[in-house]
């Protein structure tokens, strides 16, 4: 087991899930409650990583990170470095790549909140912020948690984008999934098998928690 890759993967996934919690909740609230006609356009953009080949996304990110673009030059001026082939670059890529895995369960959670309850809260004098914080968020929390956990798990498992944007630099961009690929290339099937098994068990456990939580809250609904 490559513990360096393990630690790097854990750090990447935790950071990504954290950032997606902060960005994902407002985005999901907006998608759920906005009346704008054109919001489907943004929804489609956010959903792109679900169907786009990771290499395509990775290629565009790699180009965007280079000093041929405004973003690349801006980041270089700010930090003196580039986003390509760095851990920071991986974080930015993972946030974009895992966005739908965070936002879609959150939207489902918000849509599941009975509109009547929101109406009731408003007739009781609640302003928008109180409705969100005391009614919508607490009732949608299984969806929020699912979004956070899925974005974490999805980041742990990402391969194509990491390889395109991060390359394979030990301690900086070599995650567990890249490590497995390396081991197979080196014909070390025993090591690859071990790492793969850890990832498999991790993913299964996480999904059990997600489905278990959703089952438990379903039981909380009024009779």
């Amino acid at each position: 087991m490559n513990w360096q890759a393990f630690a790097l993967t854990a750090r990447l996934a935790t950071l990504t899930a954290l950032i997606l919690t902060i960005i994902g909740v407002p985005v999901a609230l907006w998608i759920t409650f906005s009346q704008r006609r054109w919001k489907f356009l943004l929804e489609a953009v956010l959903g792109l990583p679900l169907i786009l080949p990771p290499t395509v996304l990775g290629l565009y990110l790699l180009i965007a990170f280079g000093n041929g673009t405004v973003l690349g030059r801006w980041f270089e001026r700010l930090t003196g470095g580039t986003l390509a082939f760095t851990f920071s670059g991986l974080v930015v890529s993972s946030v974009l790549y895992s966005m739908p895995f965070a936002v879609q369960p959150m939207v489902a959670g918000f849509r599941g909140v009975d509109r009547r309850l929101i109406d009731a809260a408003r007739t009781l004098g609640a302003e928008r912020w109180k409705v969100y914080s005391q009614i919508v968020l607490p009732l949608a929390w299984p969806g929020l948690l699912t979004g956070v956990m899925l974005s974490f798990a999805h980041t742990v498992g990402e391969f194509g984008v990491v390889l395109m944007v991060g390359g394979n630099i030990p301690g900086a961009t070599r995650t567990l999934s890249i490590d497995i690929y390396d081991q197979v290339q080196a014909l070390d099937y025993a090591a690859a098998n071990q790492t793969a098994l850890v990832l498999l068990l991790f993913s299964y456990t996480l999904l059990c928690v997600v489905y278990g939580l959703n089952r438990r809250t379903a039981l909380l609904e009024p009779r």
């Binding site: 009781l124 009732l139 609904e221 009024p222």
Partner: protein, 228 residues
């Protein structure tokens, strides 16, 4: 206490509204009503689809009429000509929904406390008083899914009344209860109304309930008031 006739003029409900709904599936439906009501319980009675709930939604600010005006006493809640349309959270209109819409993740006491603006001791006292008045003090720590249908009605009423509304709307809240329970709850409500003179609009499609509960009755059919 104010003289009831004077307070009636001061706090009565004036309403005049028009709203047209059209969709491909449903036939066109127009609501066109005008009435004024003194404080006390008025029953709106009519078949389902006659526009009863839509009136309540317009009064609460959850639906916007195409045109018209709504005022309670001297307070204008909606006036299409003067471009006034207070949002629901500023109308102080109590609304007990057909399915009650109690917050499932909160206890009875927290449900009741939700709409109270004051904090600390006064908040605690208001909750305690209204729970006592509706005989649900012993349920204060229970969530809605842990109490009976009649008890849930009481919590919903208490939640709406504790905010001291200027108008109370009841959308068939008692339809699932037997007559004894209905009368007991409406008795508690009428006691509260004796001290707080506000108009109450109760919607029902059940004739016996209409005659049981109301002091006045409005008959609705196809979006208009056809009798009083």
């Amino acid at each position: 206490m104010t003289d009831p006739q004077i307070s009636g003029l001061m706090s009565g409900l004036q309403l005049e509204l028009k709203k047209t709904f059209s969709s491909k599936r449903l036939h066109r439906f127009s609501l066109d009503v005008k009435f004024s009501l003194p404080p006390g319980v008025t029953v709106i009675f009519g078949p389902s689809g006659s526009g009863k709930t839509t009136i309540l939604q317009c009064l609460a600010g959850l639906t916007t009429p195409d045109e018209g005006a709504i005022s309670v006493g001297s307070e204008v809640l909606f006036d299409s000509r003067r471009n006034i349309n207070l949002p629901p959270q500023q109308r102080r209109v109590g609304y007990v929904f057909q399915d009650l819409a109690l917050f499932p993740h909160m206890t009875a006491a927290d449900n009741v406390a939700f709409g109270i603006r004051s904090n600390g001791d006064q908040r605690t006292r208001l909750v305690r008083d209204i729970l006592e008045r509706f005989h649900i003090t012993h349920l204060s720590g229970h969530r809605p899914n842990e109490i009976s249908g009649g008890q849930r009605q009481r919590v919903a009423l208490a939640r709406a009344l504790v905010t001291n509304p200027r108008l109370l709307l009841l959308d068939e809240p008692f339809s699932a209860l037997d007559d004894d329970l209905k009368l007991a709850i409406i008795g508690d409500l009428k006691q509260w109304l004796a001290q707080n003179s506000i108009p109450v609009l109760l919607v029902t499609h059940d004739r016996s309930e209409a005659s049981l509960l109301g002091e006045r009755m409005l008959l609705m059919k196809d979006g208009s008031v056809v009798g009083q």
